[in-house]
Symmetry: C2
């Protein structure tokens, strides 16, 4: 494969929903290649408790799509996604919602659905430290997987809605009770080749130096 510049990949990997190519098959080899890169991400104490269930079987994709839509209804119901959102943000909220709506309605048509799992369960009442440690052992690998897909012309999106039906999805895929599903990643080739950075709040608005809301250079350091 041609080398692809890291900065280019990292700044142009978007959450892809409407631009997933539902017609073009995805070769198992490209999934394996991207997972191999993903496995170089760190895990706490090098535990490597990650497991990836790659779903291409049509009946199982349809089952996962049902779980996803049930989760969607639980999480959002039929509420207006722009309710209570300031006018200047409403248009963008609506764009995100329309895109998410499209994904929910077409999920079983996405050629590959990857369920990222981690061995173990987090006990109820676990504080942030526990969750940040646990999920910190799988989310970097998932994001590396998504970046690797992007570098090879595929698109994906990190979703968690099917987790509201985690038990049903576990039964569908035979995932044991001792395993946690963390995310569902739809994967397909991307329609078009127009990859751009997103508009984001500038770095100095979200970065503080040596204390909350302190700008660079304002410290005694």
């Amino acid at each position: 494969m041609e080398p692809v510049d890291f900065d280019e990949v990292a700044t142009t990997t978007r959450a892809v929903r409407k631009r997933l190519d539902l017609e073009r098959p995805v070769e198992p080899d490209v999934i394996n290649e991207c997972l191999e890169i993903a496995l170089q991400a760190p895990t706490g104490s090098n535990s490597q408790g990650w497991r990836f269930v790659v779903v291409t079987d049509q009946a199982k994709r349809s089952g996962l799509a049902e779980c996803y839509r049930a989760g969607w209804r639980k999480a959002y119901g039929s509420t207006d996604p722009t309710a209570g959102v300031p006018a200047d943000k409403a248009a963008q909220q609506e764009r995100v919602h329309s895109s998410a709506d499209y994904l929910a309605n077409n999920l079983e048509r996405v050629p590959v659905l990857v369920v990222a799992c981690l061995l173990g369960r987090v006990p109820e009442g676990t504080p942030t430290a526990g969750w940040a440690g646990f999920l910190g052992s799988i989310v970097p690998a998932v994001w590396s997987f998504q970046l690797a897909l992007r570098s090879r012309g595929l698109g994906s999106v990190y979703t968690t809605l099917h987790l509201y039906q985690e038990r049903e999805a576990a039964e569908l895929l035979g995932i044991p009770d001792t395993v946690t599903q963390v995310a569902l990643i739809p994967v397909a080739y991307t329609k078009g080749t127009d990859f751009k950075p997103a508009v984001r709040r500038p770095v100095d608005e979200v970065t503080y130096w040596n204390g909350w809301k302190q700008a660079a250079g304002s410290s005694s350091d």
Copy 2:
């Protein structure tokens, strides 16, 4: 900057502890540049609730190091890190522990400590779906930040131990109660230039197709 191949960066970004260069200063510009790349990671509904507190002030670094060591004692106490670990894994466990021990004892000497925060708090009793969604809006950005650092010759490591003292760390940095600290990322130039992929379990051992423990090609699909 020279282009750096994505696969090369993604497969050679290790958790760096002993090889952090404690003597060489880190320019604020390189931190900003890497954060700018990090901000291109996705967040749920494009909420961009991330905030990064970059700590260079010596007194504050020392305070964070105290929080980290207190968390270390809470999480591991003085237990033998190899207790109950199978013999073939004990050597590696011990290596990880010795490296983590080194970091704990030298944290205030690392030139830059970045505390990754997310606006909002997760209510007690929130299920996996909520945590995976919440942390999925910051951990990809943190990992992009670490990859970007690596591509520029710096090393870092995702840590969560200071979170066992989250309140003390919040007081030290003036972080409001409504904000969640997710990770503490020590950052420094890396000693040496020998970046290698890690030894990992092979991809086919951790990847299942269409069902738990099913190998590729075993499905009816």
